[in-house]
Amino acid sequence: MDHNYQKDISGCGLTGLISTKKRMIGGADIVKSLCLMNDRGNGLGAGYAAYGIYPKFKDFYAFHIMFDEPSVRRTVEEYLKNNYKVEKVEEIPTFPVKAISISPLLVRYFVQPLKERLVGEIAEDDFVVNSVMKINSEVEGAYIFSSGKNMGAFKGVGNPSDIAEFFRIEDYSGYIWTAHTRFPTNTPGWWGGAHPFTLLDWSIVHNGEISSYGINKRYLEMYGYKLTLLTDTEVVTYLLDLLIRKHGLSIPAAAMALASPFWKKIDEMEKDDREVLTALRQTYGSALLNGPFSILFGHGKGLVGINDRIKLRPLVAAVKDDITYMASEESAIRAICPAPEKVWAPRAGQPVIVELED
């Protein structure tokens, strides 16, 4: 537990959308929505995540890996070969953009853990998480920035439009999208630092600063998470992973733990609710996310938006037909959906939970 870390701080704009009927939506919409909020970023980081983009490989974990240099690639591939069945390897298609002069080597792998490596009672998911933690914390110059099934993150240092062009985001179609533009206020310049931040099929875009970061980090470390990025977003991702995937909490319960109601409100609830909320707060006090934030997190089955307990960062939601939109600004929604049926500002601490239809 090294305490001599330098925490990464940034402000941002975010946007996301979901078709509950799993209609495939082209990347152009999300790019347009994000680019409208250009002034919420400063050109030092942008990214996109999409679900449903790899139907042919939907049973494989899609590892998106960035390498600073080719020699590192060999180390990682050796590790993958020893631990995974590698179905397909390809460089992530990129296209030259004037504003992006330097980029890491970007490769994607469709993999499945080797059965013989799943010794003991380790679940497949946990095995994958451990691999991601190991490579990201131990292999200098390699970074797995996406590891879910049938989904992927695309991100880097640049403006939203440049990053979109670089990865040809318009060429992808998905039923859930999240996107993010960054305004880092300290040393920028690392591609891995951009959002979305992902783990398995969690993808998080986040605007804000988690003032409780120090204890959230130490809390996660107790459960074996290795925090290598030192961003608030990383903390949010791992907390969701811990509470939902490992502890089996429902998404609403996890949201209540991370942005808990105030005691005054809990005390006034009827008995069952009060007991649940009290237990969640007592147990997950160190997981409470405190400070200004709005977060969108996508997962294999839906999209969720959460605000901090007193709504110190903006979050607007809208619905039109089977599509729910959430963004930092209403204008970013109206840019791609001029006449929504309903537009609202979610209340502080109250999550907006949208799930895909079966």
């Binding site: 537990m1 305490h3 001599n4 330098q6 925490k7 701080i9 402000g11 206020t185 804000g208 600063e209 003032s211 409780s212 970061y213 120090g214 204890i215 980090k217 130490r218 809390y219 470390e221 107790m222 459960y223 509470l243 490992k246 502890h247 089996g248 909490l249 429902s250 319960a253 733990a257 808990s260 105030f262 005691w263 005054k264 069952d272 609710d273 007991e275 649940v276 009290t278 237990a279 969640l280 707060r281 007592q282 147990t283 997950y284 006090g285 160190s286 409470l288 405190n290 400070g291 200004p292 307990r309 007193i310 110190l312």
Partner: protein, 502 residues
């Protein structure tokens, strides 16, 4: 009689012009400094402890208590207290006793730690306009919550939570026994604890019946003398504390002299009047960690599983000891640091054994996290918490709550003179002399103590607001929001705190 060669520490002086010979100083001084000489007040300054009772009660402001300007020759190595103690020991052959926490100039880590504040990138929160939560629950927490669907489809708790003690502010009162302090002083603590939604602790002196109405705000203590312990006592409060050690006197027992055991104290302790109340150094049924486990569970069985706290002095190996205590089944680990107060301790022990609480909190919190058992017990940190800032720093280092004693006594008039062991406290706090204890009106002084807790509560809320957080859970263990000033790398490393500027 041989005149002591240990010079008086203080000079009590009376301005004879101002003095109206009202004799209030004679009446107020518990130490016998003043007496009536027929036409004027006579002063025996060697008895003066500078508790300032006479100063405050002199209607003419005629009294002045000054540090004795006559000192031994300046010597950077042989300090005043070294020479004075040797002279006293040469005269008595005994162990010089003392009260309160150590006053020697060891480094105070609290004073080398500074707290963060928000600017621009994260907004601060105004506690006058926004809710600010300090409520804390002490006790064992599960590592996760399991929910199931009730008949109405809504989530319900699958298992009951382990017992939790709710405190509205993470500041409670440290154990102080009836015997070491007066019943009135205990009543002040009990009354304030109830008023503030916090806790007081009986210490090892049993529970006087007058405190029964306050039982929902009381922790009862079981220590090596087992004074006042019976099933009724164990079940009287909200939790039971096993006292292994005390910060001011790690590794040694207690000694309440027979002179301080009048009927009421004797009855509460369940011992004969006037006998010395001796608490052995170890508990004679605890010679190992497995013995502790048996006592913890014996108490749990006897109390239908109330939370059990184990209080230890912060010593070198505190992290491993605390880990053992948690694994032995304790719900709360109470850490008492080097600066912790006492009613009576050999000064050689108080001033040279143990470690400061700041190190202990950091080491224990780290160790419990490394072992994945931090949720199994709450940490209470005590031993020299002087202000809400000290409290905030202790919480940020990893404590769930702090406990205060000296600060609480100061609201009752204490000036930390350090002579608690004599039983002559002129403020009626650490004495059983009825004419002295009668001065401590529990209701009046409870208001003052409530004021202190309220003041610190407001200050803690201001600190949280400046940190941009609105719940104390987000301060607890959040060392990222502390910085060290002038601390060496290794100390910073132990505290898990960055230096200022990083």
């Amino acid at each position: 009689m041989f005149k002591s060669l240990a010079p008086p520490e203080y000079l009590a002086t009376i301005d004879r012009e101002k003095c109206i010979r009202c004799k209030r100083c004679i009446q107020n001084c518990g130490w016998g400094v003043y007496s009536w000489g027929g036409d004027k007040i006579v002063i025996n300054t060697s008895k003066c402890v500078k508790c300032l009772r006479c100063y405050h009660y002199c209607p003419e402001e005629a009294i002045e208590i000054v540090d004795n300007p006559t000192k031994f020759k300046n010597n950077a190595y042989w300090g005043f207290h070294n020479i004075r103690n040797i002279k006293r020991q040469a005269e008595t052959g005994g162990i010089p006793l003392t009260g309160m926490g150590s006053d020697l100039p060891y480094t105070i880590l609290f004073d080398n730690l500074l707290i963060d504040a928000c600017q621009v990138t994260n907004p601060s929160i105004d506690p006058l306009r926004e809710p600010m939560e300090l409520r804390t629950y002490l006790g064992k927490k599960p590592s996760s919550v399991e929910l199931e669907k009730g008949k109405d489809g809504k989530p319900r708790l699958k298992d009951r939570m382990p017992p939790q003690i709710k405190i509205e502010v993470p500041i409670i009162f440290s154990p102080m026994s009836f015997g070491s302090i007066s019943l009135n002083a205990q009543k002040v603590l009990a009354h304030a604890a109830r008023e503030c939604g916090i806790l007081m602790n009986t210490g090892e002196g049993g529970l006087h019946e007058d405190l029964l109405p306050y039982k929902d705000n009381i922790i009862v203590q079981v220590a090596s003398g087992r004074f006042g312990v019976n099933p009724e006592y164990l079940n009287a409060g909200v939790a039971v504390e096993i006292k292994i050690g005390q910060g001011a006197k790690p590794g040694i027992g207690g000694h309440l002299p027979g002179e301080k055991i009048p009927l009421e104290v004797a009855r509460t302790r369940m011992i004969p009047v006037g006998t010395d109340a001796l608490s052995p150094a170890p508990q004679h049924d605890i010679y190992s960690i497995e013995d502790l486990r048996q006592l913890i569970y014996a108490i749990k069985e006897a109390t239908n599983y109330k939370p059990v706290s184990v209080k230890i002095a912060a010593v070198h190996n505190v992290a491993a000891i605390a880990s053992g205590i948690v694994r032995a089944g304790a719900d709360i680990v109470y850490l008492d640091g080097f600066r912790g107060g006492t009613g009576a301790a050999p000064s050689i022990i108080r001033d040279h054994l143990g470690i400061p609480i700041e190190y202990a909190i950091a080491a224990v919190d780290d160790r419990l996290r490394q072992e994945g058992i931090r949720n199994e017990a709450s940490i209470i940190a005590a031993g020299g918490i002087r202000s809400s800032a000290d409290a905030a720093k202790a919480l940020a280092l990893g404590a769930d709550s702090v406990a205060i004693a000296t600060a609480a006594l100061i609201t009752m008039g204490c000036t930390t003179c350090g002579k608690c062991y004599t039983g002559n406290c002129s403020w009626g706090i650490t004495t059983q002399r009825p004419e002295l204890t009668a001065r401590l009106d529990p209701e009046i002084y409870a208001d003052r103590l409530v004021n202190l807790i309220h003041a610190w509560t407001h200050e803690l809320k201001e600190i949280l607001g400046a940190l941009g957080i609105n719940a104390v859970e987000s301060l607890r263990g959040n060392r990222e929001r502390l910085r060290g000033v002038g601390l060496d790398t290794q100390t910073l490393d132990i505290l898990g705190v960055k230096p200022a500027g990083r």
